[in-house]
Symmetry: C2
Subunit: 384 residues, 2 copies
């Protein structure tokens, strides 16, 4: 396995394939080609100076008579943690705020309307250590913590909806932790929050040590730029989680994640894209980059020796459209900003063509599932 240094699938294909073949490969892998978006040259200069990748793509919809195009630009941010994990907590958070501030500044010059950061973006993904301190000190209030106030400023300054996934400390309800995303309106007001509905117990991602399954259901946030929802990380493996956001009306579902190469890289291009197809909506898959080393060694339940890191986050953030097409992924190893222009009209257009909601037979499934969860359920197995 070449590991983190291998840059991206797209770069490899573009370098090696004859043009006519490349077109076919892209069509089969990605569907209808997404057009490159013209972004200001100043943005590319700022990105280059700031050492992060900047890419822009656009999805189109057919013209309609009764609705105008509903053009929205979303920004996906992937980044490494800039300071070592043993730096004092406040210093790490501040450095991350500065990093995100700079990237958001560029997003603003690119006309981004909705920006989403990676899962638990204010901290290293330290849950593999199973230690409490200092990691739980990264948790903060989803209503008035320093990160939320910081995001409110960003939102107001740039007239931008900000989706901010954090480790939440809920002091009012038993002082417990949650894996939460706060949605901040472009007015600067907190629109609400949503919590990670499915918690992994996989390899180094035994996060139930820290927080439990979300208790807020499947809220969808009506923003000025469309209806959005947030399916956090491991929830992407659960088709029903995507479905319920879609049933509640989500046109764009963000999937801020933190996942590593050996575990999930071959699943990554499949799941969020399948969700976009199955639910006639846009999905935005975001993963962090880099390796994070922790002060104390830990084991991974895989029979291997104790170690201080758990492999590399492979970035590769991308946007998938309801027609099954998708953008190329960002780099596997560099910080990046992916700007994507969507015409939200595409959701209903694809819905009208493919009709999965119309043909979904949800009533049957509600009944079958209600039966299936009973401990006495006897599966429908036909024997000779």
């Amino acid at each position: 396995m070449a590991g983190a240094e291998w840059e991206s699938l797209e770069q490899c294909l573009e370098k090696n394939l004859p043009l006519a073949d490349l077109r076919e490969v892209k069509r089969i892998l990605y569907g209808k080609e997404t057009r490159e978006l013209h972004l200001p040259s100043g943005a590319f200069e700022a990105a280059s100076k700031g050492d992060f990748e900047l890419r822009g793509y656009g999805f189109e919809a057919a013209e309609e008579q009764q609705r105008r195009p509903r053009i929205v630009r979303v920004g996906l941010v992937q980044n490494r943690t800039p300071l070592p994990a043993d730096t004092p907590v406040v210093k790490q958070v501040t450095a991350l705020h500065r990093r995100i501030e700079a990237i958001t500044e560029v997003a603003a010059t690119c006309g981004v309307n909705i920006i989403c950061f990676q899962e638990a973006w204010t901290m290293p993904f330290a849950f593999c250590t199973r230690e409490r301190l200092p990691w739980t000190e990264f948790a903060e209030s989803a209503e008035d913590g320093p990160t939320i106030r910081f995001c409110q400023e960003l939102a107001r300054k740039h007239d931008m909806v900000v989706v901010s996934p954090i480790l939440e400390r809920d002091a009012e309800h038993g002082d417990v932790l949650w894996n939460t995303a706060v949605v901040i309106s472009n007015s600067g007001a907190i629109l609400g929050k949503t919590r990670k509905n499915h918690i992994p117990r996989v390899g180094d991602f035994n996060e139930s040590t820290y927080y439990m399954e979300g208790n807020l259901g499947h809220p969808v946030f009506q923003t000025q730029f469309g209806r959005i929802a947030v399916n956090i990380c491991y929830g992407r493996h659960h088709p029903l989680n995507w479905l319920m956001y879609s049933v509640n009306g989500a046109e764009i579902i963000f999937n801020p994640s933190a996942t590593v190469g050996a575990l999930s890289e071959s699943l990554w291009p499949i799941e969020a894209r399948n969700a976009a197809i199955a639910n006639h909506c846009f999905t935005c898959a975001i993963n962090r980059v880099g390796e994070e080393r922790f002060p104390n060694e830990f084991t991974s339940g895989d029979g291997k020796k104790a170690h201080r890191d758990f492999g590399y986050f492979y970035g590769s953030s991308y946007v998938a459209a309801p027609d099954g097409s998708r953008t190329p992924g960002l780099s596997r190893n560099q910080d990046g900003l992916l700007v994507t222009e969507l015409d939200l009209n595409l959701c209903r257009q694809v819905n009208d063509i493919w009709g999965f909601k119309m043909t979904g037979r949800y009533e049957m499934y509600a009944q079958e599932l209600a039966e299936a969860v009973k401990p006495s359920y006897s599966p429908n197995i036909v024997k000779e």
Copy 2:
């Protein structure tokens, strides 16, 4: 779009990529590499003589102490209709029986235990015409029609479970048509039947002209070689359909399909594979190949002129494993037999690692779906 003559994604990549890059591309696209299966040289000779592609791959599972490996070989058959669609019905059916007999013969020499043919395999996929005769004459009894009797002979002769998707005429219940798959035990007995649960109204696939949504739920068939289910064609777009087969215990879900290039080719590698991942089971995606021309012209609801075909079926049949890995696809344009060796123990092993069933929260979804289907349901939308 290069169309049907472009052979396959895998061939293109193998021809053009340097070996080290090819390995990475395959890892990211396909996950863990599937080993090539050693098949008898006589089988390759017979395939070459019979003008169909033969490929073999194997998936492995870890050794366990309490269970022996449960090795099963499945065969996926993709084929074109050998005779023009205006040939008399019985001649067409007979030619298809002969074709499938020959391919099954080769499958037997490859040690195949369970074979599955493509959707409505005894006929051209004539539903685009919306004409009744002669197409409805391809329908037959799922209990004692000539095709079922033919399949029973195959099953007995080769000690092979046969999954036979046909157009069913249910003379006992209103003489209606169904899109059905009959599962025949390796003993030759009919194990049972299952029906297409979701019917498309997409482009040329307005099949509800002929048959309605299946009324048999999500049966799983306990065969000597493992528990299998059949998700027919358009049902692959519905994650809940896959889920219920899996909840009922399916270890292998076959997805016999008939779908064309312009419509769905970029969705094809995504959906069945996502289902294998999401449900910790093997999925087998089968599509026919070739172009089928019909005697009378018809329109496609796309503003284009009347025509006599609806594009090419792109083959590309493949098997996906619960760990997200998959076989390469069969050819896009040639008849083929894909032999794949599975160790069914992999299903539970992946289940124990990723735990989607354990973390699935089906009770919550049963309730949410039950609410959502009420006409009075008010979606969970948060506004400023």
